[in-house]
Structures are given as C-alpha cells and as structure tokens.
C-alpha cells in the first residue's frame, strides 16, 4: 500500500519555482530518501504534504486521503521534524512537549519520557536557553512522542553531534522496525545511503531519478585523487573512469565499477598520497546530466 502518492504536483511561489510536475509513491514501511541540493524543492515537497502550503496544481495523497481537503485527519498520524527548529521561546521544554502532546488523542507521557531520556534532553530548561543542537533534540522528541505512522524528516541531522546522530539513526531504524514509514530529506548522500531503501533525486524542482538504493550504489561514482612519483596518467584510462585530469605528479578522476581494478593499478606505484571518496552531490548531478 502506498502511504504517500504524489501525482504531477506543482508549486509556484508567485513566479518563482517551487517544484514542477513531481510524481512519486512511498510504500508503507519503507524509508524513502529524498535528496537534492539546497533549493531543489525538498522542503517545498514536504510542506505541501503537510498542507503548510497549497499546491498550484496536481494532487498529493497521504494514507489515501487528499492533503488539501483532509489535512487535519492526516496529520494525526504524522510526525514532522523541520530542518530549522523554532519553538515558543518563553516556554520550558516540558511545557512545549506537553503542549505538543495535547494535540493528539494519546497518553504520550511515557513515550515522551523515554525519548527525552534517550536524547538526554533537560526538560526543565527554557527553550530560549537551549543551543541549536538541543533545540533539534526537542524537535526529535516532539516529532515522535505521539507514535506517528509516518515521519517527515527534513535534513534532520544538521546541528547534531556525531554521537547524537548515531542515536538518532538508531531511533529511526527502531521506529521503522515497528512499521513506521519514513520520508527522509537530505543533501548528504552518505546518510541517505546508510538509512534508506529507496531514494528520489530532485533537482531544480523536478524529479531526476527514483531508484532503489542498491542500484544507485552500483551506479555510484568514487572520486579518486592520487599523488605518486613516476605517474603515467594514461595508465588510468580504464573503462569506468571519467573526467580524468592530471597535473605534475597528481591525477584525479571519477570511477564507476569494481574499485579493485583501480587498486591493482595503484598497488605497484610509489604512492605519496591517496584519497578515495564519495563525490559531492553536485558532482554526481553533473554526471547525471553530462
């Protein structure tokens, strides 16, 4: 069953583009990654699904219900963690969480306590005294305390330290194991790859590709930079190598395929420096469109 069905969804803010003719489905129980550079339309899509903004044309359904006409009903089972978290500055953490819980027909006290303990959140402090990372934690607890069936995470890891990021990912995996569907937007390919089953790539307001994470990984480019003495750049003119550039004793190129073939070429050399890394999303996109 599809939890989210988006069909030809278009949003213009006056004349400026939000998203154009976006269509995709998210199935129940999956973690769907939504990646794209800043300004591509990730937040616009999420905000449309939450009825924070209204579509210019096209339709979107969540739990089989139209987001424009049945928003309040849909939002009973939705948890939302925005990319930038802002709450009522004068309130204490505990009061904000209670206020948030009071919107749902559930006794969320126990879950609220569990989550706050897990995220090491200090409940008695004022929101205005919290650091950005701590506000983000409030956001996480606030988004999960009513045990939603669908989670929208809009660039959720910004501001969290690595330890908290790991806890957060574990938490999302646990929620997912309970059957919660997750819509995860990010511009960091790595974290999407770690967590998601399927990804949609959005670029300049349009869906560039929707694919299984495994397919994407097989298609995935590595960025290789090598510095060695007596280097012959032409030795790296292998199948799968693109964008090969060399200067002095350095080569750099993108590689797609079995990384061992490259390593075999490198092994006999006298290497002074070597990095093999994920290309940035921009670089991947450049490959998509070259």
């Amino acid at each position: 069953m599809s939890v989210i069905e988006v069909s030809h969804l278009t949003k213009y803010y006056g004349k400026s583009r939000g998203i154009v003719d976006v269509s995709f489905n998210v199935e129940e129980g999956e973690i769907f990654g939504f990646i794209g550079p800043n300004g591509a339309g990730k937040s616009t899509t999420i905000r449309l699904l939450l009825s924070l903004i209204h579509p210019t044309s096209g339709t979107a359904k969540v739990f089989g219900k139209d987001v424009v006409t049945q928003g309040p009903l849909i939002r009973r089972d939705i948890g939302y963690l925005p990319s930038e978290v802002y709450y009522y500055e004068g309130m204490k953490v505990i009061d904000l969480l209670k206020y948030s819980a009071s919107f749902y027909e559930c006794d969320c006290k126990q879950r609220m306590q569990e989550l706050s303990d897990l995220m090491e959140l200090e409940m008695r402090r004022r929101i205005s005294d919290l650091s950005y990372g701590n506000k983000k934690k409030v956001g996480i607890v606030q988004g999960l305390l009513h045990s939603p069936k669908l989670l929208f995470l809009d660039e959720p890891t910004a501001g969290l330290d690595p330890l908290m990021q790991r806890k957060f990912f574990d938490l999302i995996r646990q929620e997912n194991a309970r059957g919660v569907t997750v819509f995860f937007s990010s511009h960091i390919l790595g974290e999407v790859q770690r967590l998601c089953n399927r990804v949609g790539i959005i670029r300049e307001g349009k869906i560039a590709e929707i694919s299984d994470i495994h397919t994407l990984q097989q298609n995935n480019y590595k960025k290789v930079r090598l510095e060695a003495t007596g280097l012959d750049p032409n030795a790296f003119n292998l199948p799968g190598v693109t964008n090969l550039q060399s200067e002095d004793s350095q080569v750099h190129f993108f590689f797609k395929g079995d990384i061992n073939t490259v390593l075999q070429k490198i092994a006999p050399l006298q290497v002074s420096d070597l990095t093999i890394e994920e290309p940035t999303l921009e670089e991947i996109f450049m490959h998509y469109y070259e």
Partner: protein, 269 residues
Amino acid sequence: MSATIYLHEFRTRLRSVIVWSLSLAVMIFIFYSIFPAFSSQAAAINDALSKFPPALLAAFGMGQVDMSSVLGFYSFIFLFAQVCLAIQAGNYGFGLVSVEETELTADFLVSKPVSRMQIMDSKLLAAFTSLTITNLVVWASTFISIHLFKGSRTYDLNALLLLLASIVIFQLFFLSLGLVISLLVRRVRSVTPYSLALGFGMYLLAAFSGLEGVSNLELITAFKHFDPNYIIQHQAYDTPLVLLNAAVTVVCLVAAYLLYVRRDIPAVS
C-alpha cells in the same frame, strides 16, 4: 475550536492583559480624581474654554459637552481610554497569526492535527477573552471612579451604559482590522508600529474631522463611529455609523478566515 490552542493563546497574552487593564484602570481613576476640583471651578473653566477657537475644542473632544458635568468630564477621559483600547486590540489583531510567522513557530502549529479554521477560531476567541477582561476592568474602574468623585452630582446612567457598551464593538473593530491587515502584508516584523499607527492614525483623523468639519472623515475613523460626546449628548449611538463599523468588522473577519485558510506558511530560511 481547539481548547489546547485557546488555553495556550490565553496564557501567552495574560501578562499583557494585566498590564493594559491595570494601566487603563489607573489612568481613568487618576484622571477622574481631578473632577471635584475641576467642577467646583466650573464657571471659571468654562469661561476660559470659551476663549479657545471652537474648532480646536472639537478636535480634543471638548466641544459640545459641559465639562463640569459628571459624564461630560468622563467623556473627555473616555476618548483617551479609547486610544489605549484601540492600540491594545490592534496589537492582538496584528499579532494574532503573524506572531507565529515572525517567531517561526507556524510550522509547529500548522503541522499539528488541527484545521486552519480551528486555529483561527481558537486564537480569535482567546484574544476576545483577553480584550473582554480589559473591558470589564474599564467598566469597574469607571463606576468606582465616578462614585468616589462625583460628590452630590447626578448623572444619566443610561448614557454611561451606552458609552461603556460601545467598548466591545470598538475592540472587535480594531482586532479584526489588525488581523486582516497582518494577513495582507507580506510579513509583519513587529506588531507595535502597526497598531500604534492604526490607533493614533484613526484618532488623529477623528481630531481633524472635528477641526475642519470635514464630515466625510467620520466615515473612516472608528473614533467618530463611537464619539463619546455624541453618545453622552444624545443618549444614543449614531446608528448609521455604528452599523458601518460593525459591517467593516464582519467583512474583515470573513476576509481574514478566507486569507488564512489559503495562506502559504512562509518557509523559515
């Protein structure tokens, strides 16, 4: 209507309501405490006032009534109370939904399982409750002050009740006008300049309409819709103007609902 939002809204505004109510009560009380001294020298003062140009007196709301009478003096104070009430109601109106957007909490609220209609209902009702508290405090302060300082003088209770009853319509006018303006402009950064401009602007228009005798001005300023002098003198409202005022309020409220239901909540960054 959501009880949760209503309570939250009411609590957020509680301090402001107390400050406004107490200030108004104290202002009325202190102002009225000079009434005994004022009226005992009524002849001298009325004589002095008569030397001012009548247009100027009209501008300050002292034109047509006997300042040495209980209600004549009160209607003079009431004009200042009206300015305060207008600014307070304007504040609440301008801030009603825009505050969520300036403080970036709109995402939090609107992504909860409540409809925009429910949000608006609850917020309006909470603001109206707050204004009503101030309204009641003004009533109480008025009666206490008049009875403490009127001495042996008498006054027409009906005229006073009419005057005080006008407060609620007056408040609703500024509340809904502020609200609809806040939804029409792109973003309200700070509420106070707007409500001060609206409150004082309309007051000045009312003063000018007295000064120039331009009767068209009285159509657009709420201070002339509920002119205290007129109400005290005639023991009645200027019905066409009051109806006009109420109609504007209704139109503003309907427009505010329509605008808010369709509104795109601006993204944070």
